[in-house]
């Protein structure tokens, strides 16, 4: 890799795309695990325990994930600031809607909204988990009654309707972000082909709708269950 690759416009977009691909894969595995909470609470408990105690996941994958999220955020803000400088005088009259989608033009807004939600998500799940395991030293995954604690904790987080509402709204922003981001990442790494690109766009739209909608459905499922 040449010196200064990350400082060039093309290099930055390639790195943005690669971190995006990584986050797309992470999101898919997160969705699969969360789906278990609807299908099989026991399966969810054992998978969560494995993910929360496996050294490879905890000490290698988790830091890589945090780095990936922060890198994607910082690079996105950096690009946005540089792009603002490229047009110091704005148009008096502009019609961007004539030639591009709202999603493609507002990736920074949808991205920041998702990141703000991640702050709440960390506060809700990640920080208590780190406290339990690494401060209290409890790696057992058990609650006070001796049963597995993960499913119970998840259900407890979806009792408050405001929190569920914020959760659902965040996934609407994520969907808008992915509607452009998925296919854009392929374009950024130079993959565009007459035969495959239309399929990638369709696949991207499906991913951008199904995965966030799935997360919303899981949250509503637990909220409805808790209120009965």
């Amino acid at each position: 890799m040449s010196k200064g690759f990350s400082k060039t416009s093309v290099g930055r977009k390639v790195l943005m795309a690669l971190s995006g691909f990584f986050l797309l894969i992470f999101l898919l595995q997160h969705f699969i695990i969360n789906s278990l909470s609807v299908i099989s609470p026991d399966g969810f408990n054992s998978t969560s325990h494995f993910m929360g105690t496996n050294p490879l996941i905890q000490y290698v994958m988790q830091p890589v994930l945090i780095f990936g999220v922060l890198f994607h955020l910082m690079m996105g803000i950096n690009l946005e600031l540089k792009n603002k400088q490229a047009r110091p005088v704005k148009y008096a009259f502009n019609k961007p809607g004539e030639n591009s989608s709202w999603m493609s033009r507002n990736m920074i807004i949808t991205g920041i909204m998702v990141m703000l939600f991640l702050g709440l998500h960390f506060y809700d799940f990640w920080i208590p988990e780190i406290k339990t395991k690494f401060i209290n030293g409890d790696m057992s995954g058990l609650n006070a009654e001796g049963g597995m604690r993960y499913f119970e904790e998840l259900q407890h987080k979806f009792v408050n309707p405001i929190r569920v509402g914020i959760y659902c709204l965040a996934f609407v922003f994520l969907s808008l972000h992915l509607l452009h981001g998925f296919q854009s990442a392929f374009q950024s790494v130079g993959f565009r082909h007459n035969r495959y690109t239309p399929t990638i766009k369709k696949l991207g739209n499906l991913y951008a709708i199904i995965i966030p909608l799935g997360f919303i459905a899981i949250a509503l499922f637990h909220f409805i269950n808790s209120s009965h």
Binding site: S2, N94, S101, Q183, G190
Partner: protein, 250 residues
């Protein structure tokens, strides 16, 4: 047609500009947009006022000289045309038309609607050429077989007239459609492969130095490009750059 024109007026590169309003009447719907501006300038000259400065040359849609951001779109509301090919029938009697220069840090305004697009020339100088030994025994380019598909792609890329509509349109002021067309037109040809690595690295470096923004794949440039240059070339440039930056022996 009777119209109200709101035009950016700026005395010179250092002065602050502002939008001025000019009513204009008896405009033929069959006239071109530039002819309509000619009509306005004749009226301004008759009144002893300074005519509106705007770029133009061939008026046939091939030189890339005319620019203008008309009613919020580069080269106006029509598709696949330059401003000189835009006809007044695209507007309605009584319309208000906003006319602004292409806005970009790398395209500073010289006067009124005229912008300095020499940043594009400097990008070309950085690598948009094929070096040829002209000692007298140069090989005929036609003697080198080129697959039809590659020749067509190279030709499509070469139809870029360098007008700058892509930069003007892009929300980020990115020049990647232009640079990618110039990189690709040679990258698809065997004659261009020899210098492909240096070309893409040098042209991208110069593009960044000029202060253009970063591409975020909105696709607006492709829609507004008067020559229909495809985003496919940006993907091609990204691939060429990735290959050059990771594999170049420098």
């Amino acid at each position: 047609m009777n119209l109200t024109l709101k035009i950016w007026r700026q005395k010179d590169a250092k002065s602050a500009g502002k939008m001025e309003t000019y009513p204009i009447s008896n405009v033929s719907p069959d006239s071109s947009f530039l002819e309509m501006l000619d009509l306005l300038n004749n009226e301004l000259i008759d009144k002893g006022e300074d005519p509106v400065a705007f770029d133009h040359d061939c008026r046939e849609g091939i030189c890339g000289m005319c620019s203008l951001y008309i009613n919020g779109e580069a080269h106006g509301p029509d598709r696949g045309v330059t401003t000189c090919q835009l006809h007044m029938r695209m507007f309605k009697d009584g319309d208000t038309i906003y006319i602004e220069p292409f806005r970009s840090k790398a395209f500073p305004v010289i006067k009124d609607l005229v912008v300095d697009r020499s940043s594009f020339d400097r990008i070309q100088h950085a690598g948009g050429f094929v070096s040829v030994n002209t000692s007298g025994n140069t090989q005929d380019a036609n003697a080198i077989p080129v697959p039809k598909r590659d020749a067509d792609k190279a030709f499509d890329a070469a139809t870029c007239i360098g007008c700058g509509a892509c930069v003007a349109t892009c929300k980020n002021g990115s020049a990647m459609l232009y640079v990618s067309a110039k990189v690709s037109q040679f990258a698809y040809l065997p004659q261009g492969r020899v210098e492909a690595t240096e070309r893409v690295l040098n042209m991208v470096e110069q593009m960044d130095k000029e202060g253009f923004g970063n591409c975020t794949n909105t696709g607006a440039c492709e829609v507004e490009c008067p020559k229909g240059i495809s985003l496919e070339f940006i993907a091609k440039m990204n691939k060429e750059y990735l290959k050059a930056a990771t594999c170049a022996e420098k």
